[in-house]
């Protein structure tokens, strides 16, 4: 085995340890704070699989995360740490709603298709700002994308409040999305075909990154920018294109979420947070789009489990945020288990040396 293979295996192993450790810590905390810890823990772990509606709920929750997670993967592969997924998702959902409610008499398929296109374009459009700021002015994309997210939130709020809002609905909600504009439900449950679109996006992103020339350039730029530049890759072009693609995917995710899960657009005043969750998914998936569905499933499973536990026991659902945060921390910490990795590589090298000597 080469050191590189060991490192790759180690990274996967480390992710597992991180998840196990975070969950383990959570279980310890639960057993301390709950009066019926066994019940609470079993609700958390087995609860999500006990009913078909809950499994459907996991699928529903994981669907938007697959889009924002894939967006993060593509951007992070090129070392572009833009948080624009959050804003792109929101504006995608917002404008998809706008198009759907203003074109009520269109047939289903064309309506949905155009909604998707509108959302993708919107996502790309908002991603332009931090991307250009980065490429033209070398402004830090983390900061500028977060600023941009606030600007987008205000734009979305404005469109919602003055164009989409249905005063007669009796709540802070938009006009209802026309029936034919909604995504099909599957198996008679609440889950919708958005999950299939998500899977297609993940696979397509995988093929794009690992099987095309463009994708190779992206990975090269991420691995070593100077080397990429030296070998004639337009590093700035990669920085720009990955951020725009990421924005587009996140925007599409917004449209899928709103047309799949909601009757009306409801997000007003605060960011819905799918972009931030997408970071967790991307980090867990090690920036590999093919692993995004797995990571999104894990996150959705934990959320659903915490929800079930919240209903049957005295442990508040919010503890799942702590688990999520811990997982990111463990996975992101380079030095976490670094000694173990070192030992693995040294042992392997020793073994290879011995084998060589024995052969001689």
């Amino acid at each position: 085995m080469t050191s590189k293979q060991i490192e790759r295996r180690f990274e996967i192993f480390k992710t597992f340890v991180a998840v196990a450790l975070a969950l383990g810590l959570a279980l310890i905390v639960i057993s301390f704070v709950s009066e019926s810890p066994v019940e609470a823990i079993s609700a958390f772990i087995t609860g999500p699989f006990q009913r078909a509606t809950r499994i459907s709920n996991i699928i529903e929750v994981m669907t938007p995360l697959m889009f924002t997670g894939t967006a993060i993967c593509i951007m992070y592969q090129a070392n572009q740490f833009s948080m624009i997924g959050e804003g792109a998702f929101l504006i995608g959902a917002n404008l998809a709603t706008w198009f759907a409610v203003t074109h009520e008499n269109w047939a289903g398929l064309p309506l949905i298709t155009v909604c998707f296109i509108v959302a993708i374009v919107a996502g790309v459009a908002v991603a332009v700002v931090p991307a250009v700021l980065k490429v033209k002015f070398r402004a830090n994309e983390v900061v500028s994308s977060i600023m941009m997210n606030y600007v987008i939130l205000k734009i979305s709020d404005y469109i919602f409040y003055y164009i989409l809002r249905d005063v007669a609905s009796g709540q802070q909600a938009s006009f209802p999305i026309p029936k034919q504009g909604k995504l099909l439900k599957m198996f008679g449950l609440r889950m919708h075909v958005g999950v299939i679109i998500g899977l297609i996006v993940c696979v397509a992103a995988y093929v794009f990154i690992y099987r095309t020339k463009w994708g190779y350039q992206i990975r090269m730029t991420g691995a070593n920018m100077n080397f990429a530049k030296y070998s004639g890759i337009s590093v700035m072009g990669i920085a720009l294109s990955t951020q725009l693609i990421g924005g587009g995917i996140a925007g599409l995710g917004g449209a899928v979420e709103i047309l799949g899960r909601y009757d009306r657009f409801l997000w007003f005043g605060t960011q819905p947070g799918f972009g931030f969750d997408g970071v967790l998914v991307g980090v867990l998936a090690k920036n590999n789009p093919l692993l995004v569905p797995v990571a999104a499933f894990l996150l959705a499973y934990m959320r659903t489990g915490a929800d079930v536990m919240n209903r049957v026991s005295d442990v508040p659902v919010e503890f799942v945020d702590v688990v999520q945060g811990l997982i990111i921390l463990f996975v992101a910490a380079e030095m976490f288990m670094a000694k173990y990795r070192h030992k693995l590589i040294v042992n392997n090298a020793k073994k290879q040396l011995e084998a060589k000597e024995a052969a001689e």
Partner: protein, 337 residues
């Protein structure tokens, strides 16, 4: 025009100016925390979570200390001397516990970023996620409520009437009678300036932030300096947390930072991490926030007003980038000569 004149009527009032000062306080503290982190070269996205944690622990520390001093006697029945003693102890304890919680959170981020070499911004986001849920979790455990800490009897930092100024007609209404944390935040701007530009530690912090390798080559302990700067960052966020939950309101409610940490970060960026510039930017954010509040009552679109500071920050980022580019060009031209 009618709209403009009615807007001016609402804005050119002492009450409005006073509200700007009040709203700016936590933003300014967060921005000062952001300065310390940025100056030592760490992107602190956890300002939000740090302030939130500090706000919660300030309330808990205050309430539990008050309860302990009263010794189980209800405040209504206890000896007045004991009550005032308990109140005083509660305020001091809340301030200290909140601030310490802020410092610990920032040191935790520093440990992740410097000690364990995690990406600082990922660790910062993780801390924000953890604290959003974690504070609700702890609140539920301590106060039995997931939304608000009203069952805890916590204290409030004092409101202060400034001598002399309070008797000046308009100025008095604006500047006097604010919470002590508001005045303290202004003093902290000077403190940050002093630390950064008048002390050896500040020089080291700035050196480490600009080029860590150069600082290391002249014998500066980079890690130690970063830990110190991050502790200071946490200190100011801690003050910010206290100013949220122990001044104009005397409770903790879930998510009560409501983006103020990120706004502080923007102000820091708009001010390019200079203490005075950042303070001006923080007041700008406070001004537009207050203006949006006023305009809401006039039922006109407030969203664009609310978006102005963020757009300004984006423009600011560009301007600073061009400025530093020009600086580099000039230096290079000089060297060429």
């Amino acid at each position: 025009m009618e709209f403009l004149s009615s807007l001016f009527e609402l804005i050119f009032t002492p009450a409005f100016a006073a509200s700007v000062l009040r709203i700016t306080t936590p933003i300014l503290f967060a921005a000062l925390g952001g300065i310390m982190a940025r100056r030592c070269g760490i992107l602190n996205l956890a300002l939000e979570g740090t302030m939130l944690t500090a706000a919660l622990f300030a309330v808990i520390g205050s309430a539990l200390t008050k309860r302990a001093v009263l010794g189980g006697v209800s405040a209504a029945l206890a000896d007045p001397a004991l009550v005032s003693k308990a109140n005083f102890a509660g305020i001091i304890a809340g301030f200290i516990v909140g601030t310490v919680a802020g410092i610990l959170m920032a040191l935790f981020l520093a440990y992740m970023a410097v000690g364990l070499k995690a990406d600082a911004y990922l660790a910062g986001l993780a801390i924000n996620t953890m604290t959003t849920g974690g504070t609700v979790f702890i609140l539920y455990m301590v106060a039995g409520d997931k939304g608000i800490s009203s069952s805890l009897d916590s204290g409030s930092m004092p409101f202060i009437d400034l001598p002399i100024i309070k008797d000046i007609p308009i100025l008095g209404e604006i500047f006097s009678g604010q919470n002590i944390m508001t005045y303290f935040s202004w003093i902290c701007v000077a403190i940050v300036y002093f630390i950064l530009f008048k002390t050896a530690t500040g020089l080291r912090i700035r050196a480490v932030g600009e080029t860590p390798s150069a600082a290391e080559s002249v014998g500066v302990n980079v890690k130690k300096v970063q830990y110190i700067a991050m502790a200071l960052s946490g200190l100011f966020c801690g003050f910010g947390g206290v100013s949220l939950s122990m001044s104009y309101v005397q409770f903790f409610s879930r998510g009560m930072t409501a983006g103020k940490g990120f706004i502080g970060m923007s102000a820091m960026n708009l001010g390019n991490a200079s203490p005075v510039g950042t303070a001006v930017a923080a007041f700008l954010f406070g001004f537009f926030d207050a203006m949006a509040n006023v305009m809401q009552s006039m039922s006109i679109p407030v969203q664009f007003v609310q978006a102005i500071p963020y757009v300004a920050t984006l423009v600011g980022l560009v301007v600073f980038a061009i400025q530093s580019d020009n600086k580099v060009k000039k230096l290079k031209a000089k060297q060429a000569k």
